[in-house]
């Protein structure tokens, strides 16, 4: 599958630090897992990097102030996923130098595995490639898993986005440094960095920074979508196929996004937790497409202003890439840890055409990276036959959108599969409730 790459808008633009906005909004839920537990109160003054909310259990990470200022509000705020979420709003100090408090940074080589994992969790690091999975969880695989290989994901196969591309081209040492720390924590001796061939400068830069005393290599990848999907990347780099329903660690591999790895490296350089990230602001609807280094929690409005604002004909704004990202309509939505990019589209690109009946052309089957039959799944989804969809491996669908992209009849297949997954969950909950009720009835009788 080869959607247009459209990366030329920002591919050669150096990462630029955006001026601090007048306020930042930090939702307590910015990661997969439990939301963070709020510690701060209204009116508190916080410095950049201060703890606002603590991790609530192992499958959670803390949230830190991304700018020095005063907590103006604790309340509900629009979340990038379309819902409302509890958030901390900070009015940023206008004339602050935005310096974090001084920190002690222990050298990673002297730390035990557990200490590294703990440090990564306390720094609030999540997967920066989009999924926002807590990074420390991947560093602590179950005892019986034999991990032998660390894969770094620099594929960045989504159209438009150049976040990881610029990061690798400009800060290759940081990526390598983070990789060393991860290898140390995981106890693996081999690391492979996969980068799509359409980023020759990134491949070059990383190659130039490779150490001689560690087995870290770069492997250029074929440009295709979705090359950066975890299971696809593992297949491309190792030839191993992650079994259906299993995790990468079942084939001895841990995958981490290069941006995440660079952030881990940064934490062990400066001691500063995850308070800022690189975001590609791009698309035909933005006047000055850029790669911005911005505080986490920057409102969409401020980020767009830093890029010259929107064009008059903008019709849709996407958080993430155009293939898997979600549309947002509220310009006050904050850009959180997992947001890789903002793509503003115009009607000529985001055209919507009427849906026609399926003509069984088979293009969706050709495009599906996990070899499902989207055509048949689509018919079942329309009929609400979710259980049959489950039997046809609906769970293996990663909602990459390839089938919807190629469908000449414009059938919203991946959207139907997302609904199918949700419908299946609902059916199961209902079935469980009914079974429980039946047991109670028998017990009562």
């Amino acid at each position: 599958m080869h959607p247009p790459e459209l990366k030329q808008l920002t591919a050669t633009q150096k990462i630029r630090r955006m001026p601090f906005p007048s306020e930042v909004v930090l939702p307590l839920r910015q990661h997969a897992g439990k939301p963070a537990r709020l510690l701060a109160s209204r009116g508190d003054h916080v410095e950049r990097g201060d703890l606002l909310a603590a991790a609530d259990g192992f499958m959670s990470v803390p949230i830190h102030a991304s700018a020095s200022g005063r907590i103006a509000e604790l309340g509900w705020w629009p979340h990038p996923d379309g819902s409302m979420a509890e958030a901390v709003r900070i009015t940023v100090d206008r004339f602050s130098a935005q310096l974090p408090r001084p920190r002690m940074v222990p050298h990673w080589e002297g730390l035990s595995k557990e200490q590294v994992v703990n440090a990564v969790q306390q720094a609030g690091i999540v997967g920066l490639g989009g999924a926002a999975f807590p990074a420390h969880v991947k560093l602590l695989p179950p005892k019986d898993a034999k991990i032998e290989l660390l894969l770094l994901n620099g594929a960045e196969c989504e159209p438009y986005l150049t976040t990881d591309h610029r990061l690798m081209a400009e800060q290759p040492e940081r990526v390598i440094y983070g990789a060393r720390i991860m290898m140390h924590a995981l106890g693996v001796t081999r690391c492979v960095i996969g980068i799509e061939r359409n980023k020759p400068d990134a491949i070059e830069a990383i190659r130039g920074a490779l150490p001689s005393d560690a087995d870290i290599t770069v492997q250029p990848l074929t440009v295709k979508y979705p090359q950066g999907a975890e299971k696809m990347l593992i297949k491309a780099l190792t030839g191993r196929e992650v079994p259906s329903g299993k995790l990468p660690l079942n084939v001895g591999v841990i995958v981490q996004n290069v941006g995440t790895v660079a952030t881990i490296g940064e934490v062990f350089e400066t001691g500063l937790p995850l308070v800022e990230r690189v975001v590609t602001i791009t698309g035909p609807g933005v006047r000055k497409p850029s790669n911005l280094l911005m505080p986490i929690g920057t409102r969409l409005r401020d980020a767009l202003d830093a890029c010259g604002g929107l064009t008059a004909d903008v019709s849709e704004i996407i958080f993430g890439g155009p293939m898997m990202g979600g549309a947002v309509s509220d310009l006050d939505t904050p850009i959180i840890k997992g947001i890789t990019g903002v793509v503003a589209l115009t009607p000529d690109v985001a055209r919507t055409e009427p849906t026609l009946p399926c003509i069984r052309c088979g293009r969706c089957l050709d495009s599906c990276p996990v070899f499902l039959n989207p055509s048949q799944l689509g018919l079942l989804a329309q009929a609400g036959r979710y259980e049959e969809m489950e039997a046809l491996h609906l769970a293996d669908c990663m909602l990459c959108g390839s089938c919807s992209y190629v469908c000449p009849s414009n059938i919203p297949l991946s959207q139907m599969f997302a609904l199918g997954k949700a419908g299946l969950r609902k059916q199961k909950v209902k079935a469980a409730a009914e079974a429980a009720a039946a047991v109670l009835k028998v017990g009562a009788a």
Binding site: P3, G82, P159, K231, K235, V242, P243, S244, G245, K246, R301, D305, L310, V314, S315, E316, I318, P322, M323, M324, G325, G326, A327, V328, S329, V343, L345, V349, A350, T352, E353, L356, P357, I359, R360, C361, G362, L365, D366, P369, V370, F371, L372, N373, S375, H393, D396, L399, G401, S402, S404, Y405, V406, P408, S409, N410, P412, S414, Q415, A418
Partner: protein
């Protein structure tokens, strides 16, 4: 900054430029050279037949499905293809009935676009073959003046046309079957032989189909497997008994080219998997040779395709791809045996 009005649609937010309507209309345009060649060989009669068939299918589609479905071009393809598989001298009222049957019984009755099991144009032709067996096997000879009718095209409805002054001739397949006379491969390839309107120039059909395959609007595996199978099977028979037609004759005579390139590749009525397309094509190739060599009719492409159309749901079910990360059943079985 004034607040822009923003859409909220589901991902993906990009879409491939190919649409169903674009695919269908491209197929229609790729058929135009073949229609032009038909006009060159059979004169105005051929163009009248194609135009009547197309008007009839489009009008029927408009009548049954209402406005709005004509834009996708599928009724137009059916009409042009139906016209191309009829003899040039066919009375136009019969052609029009064929168009009504193609859309009505071939497509609309199943639920319209995408729902039909059989190729609509071939359903129309099969109906005409049963209803007017004589008219549909009266093959005018190619050539002559452009404006000379190749039969009584304008016969009144329900009247059998009479055209005593038109030279008719058996098709190369008819000659082979009933008189055991061969036709030169050169004439077959270029198309100046007797036959249906569009089944004459094999070379042109190959070129037009090649263009569609290049644009990925046609699954090349279907024509390739049909031709390979029919050619090899016929060659093998020819080796055993030289009385049977050879492989090249089999490929370039009759409706095989048009059928293999344009009829069998109809996306709706062909398998959805690549493996299925190979099976489908091999089946058609075998059936064509079987019918031509041992059947009662000189030509078998239409029935071969229709029979294989009916098997498509089963072929699809049997050729589902192996899901990523899931072991193939056969491999599981082998493992169970080994352990």
């Amino acid at each position: 900054m004034s607040e822009p009005r923003l859409d909220l649609t589901a991902s993906p937010h990009l879409h491939s430029p190919d649409s169903t309507a674009k695919i269908m209309w491209t197929v229609v345009f790729s058929l135009l050279p073949i229609v032009a060649a038909a006009g060159y060989f059979f004169g105005i009669s051929a163009l009248l037949v194609v135009a009547t068939a197309t008007l009839s299918t489009v009008a029927t589609e408009r009548l049954i499905s209402g406005p709005g479905t004509l834009g996708n071009g599928s009724a137009t393809i059916t009409g042009v293809l139906l016209g191309l598989v009829l003899p040039a001298g066919m009375p136009l009222w019969m052609v029009a009935i064929g168009g009504v049957v193609s859309i009505g019984l071939g497509k609309a009755i199943f639920g319209g676009l995408g729902q039909n099991l059989f190729n609509p144009a071939l359903i129309g032709r099969a109906f005409l073959q049963a209803a007017f067996p004589q008219a549909i096997t009266t093959w005018p000879v190619a050539g002559g003046s452009f404006f000379a009718l190749k039969g009584d095209n304008f016969a009144l409805p329900l009247m059998r046309g009479s055209a005593p002054d038109v030279v008719t001739h058996a098709t190369p397949l008819g000659l082979m079957k009933f008189e055991h006379t061969g036709t030169g491969i050169g004439s077959l390839i270029l198309g100046n032989v007797g036959g249906s309107v569009g089944e004459t120039s094999a070379l042109l059909i190959l070129i037009c189909g090649g263009y569609l395959a290049y644009r990925n609007y046609l699954n090349w595996r279907i024509p390739a497997s049909i031709m390979l199978t029919a050619g090899l099977f016929a060659a093998a028979l020819h080796l055993i008994n030289p009385l049977y037609p050879g492989g090249l004759f089999m490929l370039f005579s009759g409706g095989l080219m048009l059928g293999a390139v344009y009829m069998a590749t109809d996306m709706v009525t062909s398998p959805i998997t690549h493996k299925g397309c190979w099976i489908f094509g091999i089946g058609i190739g075998l059936l064509v040779v079987l019918i031509r060599v041992w059947g009662g009719l000189p030509e078998g492409v239409m029935y071969a395709i229709l029979i294989m159309n009916s098997l498509v749901p089963f072929i699809n079910r049997a050729t589902q791809p192996r899901v990523f990360g899931v072991e193939a059943p056969s491999r599981l079985k082998r493992k169970a045996v080994a352990s």
